[in-house]
Amino acid sequence: MRVDVNIRVTGGAGQGVHTAGGILSRLAVAMGHHFHATQDYMSRIRGGRNSYAVRIREIPVRAGRAATDILLALDPGHLPHFLSSASPAGFAVCDIAATGPGPADRRVIVAPLKELAVAAGSPILGNMVGTGIVARALGIPPETVDRILAIEFKGDFLEKNRKAARLGAEWASVRVPGTYRLPEASFHPRMILSGNEALALGAVAGGCKFAVGYPMTPASSILLGLSADGPPLGLVFEQAEDEIAALNMAIGASYAGARAMVATSGGGFALMAEALSLAGMLEMPVVVALGMRPGPATGLPTRTGQEDLAFALSAGHGEFPRLVLSPGSVEEAYALAHHAMETAEAYQVPCILLTDQYLGDTVVDVDPGDLPVLPVNRRIVHGNDVPRDPNGRYLRYAVTGNGISPMAVPGEPGITVVVDSDEHTEDGHLTEDHAVRVRMVEKRMRKGEALAMEALPPLLSGPPDGDVLLVGFGSTKGVISEAREILAGGGIAAVAVHLRQVEPFPVRAMSEILDRYRSAFTVENNRAGQLARRIRAETGREVAGTIARFDGLPFTPEEVAGRVKERL
């Protein structure tokens, strides 16, 4: 039986929207189903209009949906805003009494959320009364709800939450329609992770031992993940006084031999640009997680966008190789964070993990087997492996065929490690010799050429040839993939192409793909079509156009499919 239910919990910040959404997500997994949860929140600590959408299917879900089937409005004032996107059979649950007589809309089920919350022990439990009502609408047995709540809450608070959910479910038993009852399926243990949590875990699994940052939405939860999951594996975390300090610290730690990373958003990354260039010059491996949000300047600080592609590719003065990876799913955030740690060290280059608010805050259930434990290959040389010149000195910037010099760290007996942001000789000391300059530029750029040979190719889903290519990078992967399925259902042979590496650009692979199909569109969360420009610059091939969205919200599959159809 096909299941596809989209639940949206809305309310002000502080009303427990996140908690209710999280519980409903876990209930879906407990029922043997899968979910995809997206968060849309405002830049404030209390109040406003936040929403948490949980889409439940019988198969793993990798995109949200615009139409809402069940709306739980903890703040009735949000009804007019969200009712407009209700699906034909959809309904809303809210406590109109809180603000007086509400709209006479037959889709709205007026529930005594506050009254039952007070009966359960506290007026703040309205979210759990609502959760109980929605759980009942989904046909989830009360004992399953009890069990999941016991995982999330403890002690007296658990009892109150259980009572609130039970009162909600009892109240709902004869009052909510059974349209969206979930069939029971067999339960399998899953990992429940957001994109940002997975990225942090991947970095830790990739041997990250030093993490530093200055809080900034939507990257703060990457820092939270690193500071929580890292220390048991020996990671040292520090909050910096500013983003300039953060990246300079990460580079200092890298010099001392630690795999190091920072996490930030566009504004913080702008402050890091000079240090990114320093990492290029000093040839220090370092990873920067860049969680994009709409700009310019402060823009929409809690919403999503992909406006910093061109910036990530060009940030930092001067010429130096870099790796820019763009994970498209929670699983890829984990895998590419590990890959970033490994590759940054192997080539002694800075690596940017380009993600965004949508992917960072998206929570899904994943197969534990999709988060493999991969080896960490350290490249630092010690003892007799440290190469010496005829004078017995270690040359940090020894010129080699592929440009990669053996990296030793300070504290190694018998040698010193000298690095300089000025142009330098092989021993790391500053120089203004033009011939040395040319050799060093060539050495650094050769690493980029070697890096390009190992560029991760784009991932394709769909038929080997067809009418149209839909090309995206980063967080749009799941949406484009489902849009392709919708188009295929309508007889349009579309192919989804996901770029998980945008620098060095996979030129050959992408050129060959583009040549096989009649037309191509990029799908990107920016106005300028930055990916389309990148494709043109790197492959010399034009795409037919760009499906752009830049209102601060993520694409949905129906929207992409519809807009592609209009363009064909």
């Binding site: 030093f210 048991p232 001392a256 760290v409 007996p413 300089d420 942001s421 000391h429």
Partner: protein, 288 residues
């Protein structure tokens, strides 16, 4: 003079530059610590002062303008057994890097910071620095500096720095002694070194300093914070040199930070079983 810490890197300072005696003092101080070359890291930013590490045969991190302290902090955190020293100019540490100066004194890592304070931007050819005297006319403030001077020693004392000293470039022995004591201090140690700029600062010259400075008397109580603060503001009539303030009340940052210590970060492994444990904690099962 030739010593174990000499290098053959070409020197780019002006003849008579105050950096020369400071370099001598640094090398003397390092010899007196008895540390091996590989145990010492000299960190600097950008400017003529920041080139000093290239003339000392130890580990060197010559980073960006103003950013010596963040790099030094992280090196110390990554490997606390290293002796980490910062040598840079007044523009670098107090101007461009002012925020790091403030917050690293708050953190109190075991780093000694030697500031070549010549009250002028030399390498960019004669602009006022954060410590220039008001009224002094540099190349970008032709009618004279309007802003009041940044008081490094007073600021450090106010922020809780446990070792606050002032040296004099021309007195190598005296300054080297301050450096040795700064290195021995467990925590952030500041030595602000009065340094003539023979090319661009015609006011604060060797002669001027010779007239203005006096050594703190041997009965100066360096534990008296209020007295130290008072002394740190003396400038117009006469200028004290020596250790103004000293306190060992605050343990260094590395000792308080739960993750920092042995083994150094470069030697920490990532055992697959430990990664599996972290992942297992995130596993969602019905038993919780």
């Amino acid at each position: 003079m030739s010593g174990i810490f000499d290098t053959d890197v070409e020197n780019a300072w002006c003849p008579g530059c105050g950096n020369f005696p400071i370099l001598d003092a640094v090398k003397k101080a390092l010899e007196r610590t008895g540390k091996a070359k590989h145990e010492i890291v000299l960190v600097s930013g950008i400017g003529q002062a920041a080139k000093l590490p290239h003339h000392v045969d130890v580990n060197v991190f010559n980073g960006l303008h103003g950013r010596a302290l963040p790099a030094a902090l992280a090196i110390k955190m990554a490997n606390p057994s290293l002796t980490v020293l910062v040598t840079s100019g007044d523009g670098d540490i107090y101007g461009e890097g002012g925020n790091h100066f403030v917050h690293n004194i708050r953190r109190n890592p075991d780093i000694a910071v030697f500031v070549h304070d010549n009250q002028v931007y030399g390498l960019t050819k004669g602009q006022p620095s954060p410590t220039s005297d008001p009224g002094w006319a540099g190349s970008l403030q032709r009618s004279g500096v309007i802003a009041g001077p940044f008081p490094p020693l007073a600021a450090a004392i106010a922020l809780g720095c446990g070792f606050v000293a002032r040296g004099l470039a021309s007195d190598v022995e005296f300054t080297a002694d301050l450096m040795v004591r700064a290195i021995a201090h467990k925590g952030f140690a500041l030595v602000d070194i009065l340094q003539p700029c023979v090319t661009f600062n015609k006011k604060n010259t060797y002669q001027w300093y010779g007239k203005m400075v006096y050594k703190l008397p041997s009965d100066h109580d360096a534990a008296d914070r209020a007295r130290a603060f008072e002394l740190s503001l003396e400038w117009e009539e006469r200028i004290p040199i020596g250790v103004l303030y000293r306190s060992s009340d605050r343990p260094p940052f590395e000792e308080l930070h739960p993750g920092v210590g042995d083994p150094p970060l470069h030697a920490r492994e990532t055992p697959p079983e430990a990664v599996r444990d972290i992942l297992r904690k995130r596993l969602f099962t019905l038993s919780g």
